[in-house]
């Protein structure tokens, strides 16, 4: 049986950074990363942006070149999946029937795309956007695709809509709630993005319920809505969130439910088992201490560093300010903080100018900003979020003054 001092499950953003941080911190034990995708760790955000559009080739989105992992003595065991964890014996079982022992385990498995539960979910031509393989399948079919139906108006669905529209496809975007981005942003931002997509030719519909995917000869040909209408489509892209990949850990007895529960040092309730990234449910100070999972590169990276430091004997608590970005058309969105739970929003700038910020307040404190083509607000707003600054909404609205001067 193979055994390494540290075993990282999942060769994604979090897993890669955990290994990098361990070596950077001078860790000399053996380290292996075990992942079920065939590729070396790569950046996921471009999958719905520059990679899908063809602007970047795969080699340009690798997190590190192959030689890097060899030089740092980080063993890559790809193309295999962990199916069970024995926390007491300190070993995991793999899909190929083998076992791998560990001193410490870092669980960094992200999540798998939530599938539709209706008929036709598995027809050919129905895709998710989570892995390179997903996007390569989409790209292969694009040549023979004119009409695309995207189900789900979250960031991934919207980014895919922007890219595919630019590639000349007819895109219909179907959102079940009354606005896009409903789970992550306020109504100002939602209506702004809805108008932008419509102006670019996307048939964007909210409050529509999907009944099923219809098909011919095993291939999707459209989406049937609850009212009976069939939206014709050669391709269906489903972007309705992920399910954290934590089954084996929970089965081994780790606490958790939607994700695996971790403490401020990224430790699960199992001995010597850490969890980081999209799959890790943690109490976040920027959400009033509420327990949640964050799906962002920031969170994957910062939790990886915390887990690595913990293994290096440095006890530091996870306390990083959340940030995120999204690129659609010529719009650069940058988010800092978490807007969930806000009780007031302030619009700084004009939507029509396509450069503005939505500032989210809770009991008068700045808790988050969504900045569209407004990098300066994003940079200066970060400090307001970190400080929980209490500022007058009228002053925040005043674009003749910079945020840092308003706070001074």
């Amino acid at each position: 049986m193979d055994r390494t001092d540290v075993l990282i499950i999942g060769a994604g953003h979090a897993g890669a950074q955990a290994a990098i941080a361990l070596r950077q911190g001078g860790y000399t034990g053996t380290v292996a990363i075990l992942g079920d995708e065939p590729e070396l760790p790569y950046e996921r955000p471009p999958l719905s942006k520059d990679y899908l559009s063809g602007d970047k080739t795969f080699d340009r989105i690798l997190i590190r070149p192959a030689s890097f992992w060899e030089e740092r003595k980080i063993a890559m065991r790809l193309n295999r999946r962990v199916v069970a964890v024995d926390a007491e014996a300190h070993e995991v079982s793999l899909s190929d029937g083998s076992q791998h022992g560990y001193g410490s385990l870092i669980w960094a498995t992200g999540g798998s795309p939530r599938m539709l539960s209706c008929a036709g979910y598995d027809l050919k031509g129905v895709h998710s956007v989570r892995t390179r393989a997903d996007v390569d399948r989409i790209m292969r079919e694009l040549e023979t695709t004119q009409r695309v139906a995207i189900i789900g108006g979250g960031y991934i669905g919207l980014e895919a809509a922007a890219v595919l529209t630019k590639l000349g496809k007819k895109v219909v975007l179907l959102e079940a709630l009354d606005r896009v981005l409903a789970r992550v942003a306020g109504p100002d931002l939602s209506s702004f993005y809805e108008a932008e997509h419509r102006a670019h030719g996307v048939d964007l519909r909210t409050q529509v319920k999907v009944a099923c995917i219809v098909g011919q000869d095993g291939k999707a040909s459209g989406v049937r809505l609850h009212d009976g209408e069939i939206v014709p489509a050669d391709m269906v892209i489903v972007g309705i969130g992920i399910i954290p990949a934590v089954e084996p850990l929970l089965a081994a007895g780790a606490a958790g439910n939607n994700g695996v529960q971790i403490d401020a040092q990224c430790r699960t309730t199992l001995p010597d088992v850490y969890a980081i990234g999209d799959c890790a449910a943690h109490a976040n100070r920027y959400a009033e201490g509420a327990t949640l999972r964050l799906e962002s590169v920031q969170n994957a990276n910062d939790q990886a560093i915390i887990a690595a430091k913990c293994l290096l004997g440095l006890a530091v608590a996870y306390d990083a300010v959340p940030w995120f970005w999204s690129n659609q058309y010529d719009l650069k969105l940058q988010t800092v903080g978490l807007s969930i739970g806000h009780d007031q929003t302030v619009l700084r700038g004009e939507l029509a100018a396509r450069s503005f910020s939505v500032i989210y307040l809770l009991q008068g404190r700045v808790i988050a900003l969504d900045c569209v083509n407004a990098v300066r607000d994003y940079v200066q707003g970060r400090k307001l979020v970190v400080d929980g600054a209490k500022l007058d909404p009228g002053a925040l609205r005043d674009t003749s003054r910079q945020l840092k001067d308003i706070a001074a």
Partner: protein, 105 residues
């Protein structure tokens, strides 16, 4: 194919051959410098690819955009030689330049 001298955070220099056309960030990543996080992958959204470019070479580069200038304010060690490496295209203008990876924020 300019030759660059890259200094890491411990001040140790390494000479690399850089391919023209790619960004400096991609070049540093490809050359195995692990200190550069470059979290946003080069879309000028994160400021974790901060470097200091030697004055002579800096003057030969195209001017930085407003976005890059604003984003650099997010870093704690900004000086007049600061640039975001993902916003620099490698070209012969960089021949012989000393590039220093900026301190962590």
């Amino acid at each position: 194919m300019p030759t660059l001298i890259i200094k890491n955070r411990s001040g140790i220099g390494k000479t690399i051959e850089a391919a023209s056309g790619r960004s400096l960030m991609e070049t540093l990543r490809e050359a195995g410098f692990d200190e550069l996080l470059a979290l946003c992958g080069g879309c000028c959204s994160c400021a974790t690819c901060h470097v200091h470019v030697e004055a002579g070479a800096l003057a030969r580069l195209p001017k930085m955009s407003d976005d890059e200038n604003d984003l650099l304010e997010a870093t704690s060690s900004r000086d007049e030689l600061s640039r975001l490496s993902c916003q620099i295209e490698v070209s012969d203008a960089l021949e012989g330049a000393v590039i220093t990876i900026a301190d962590e924020d």
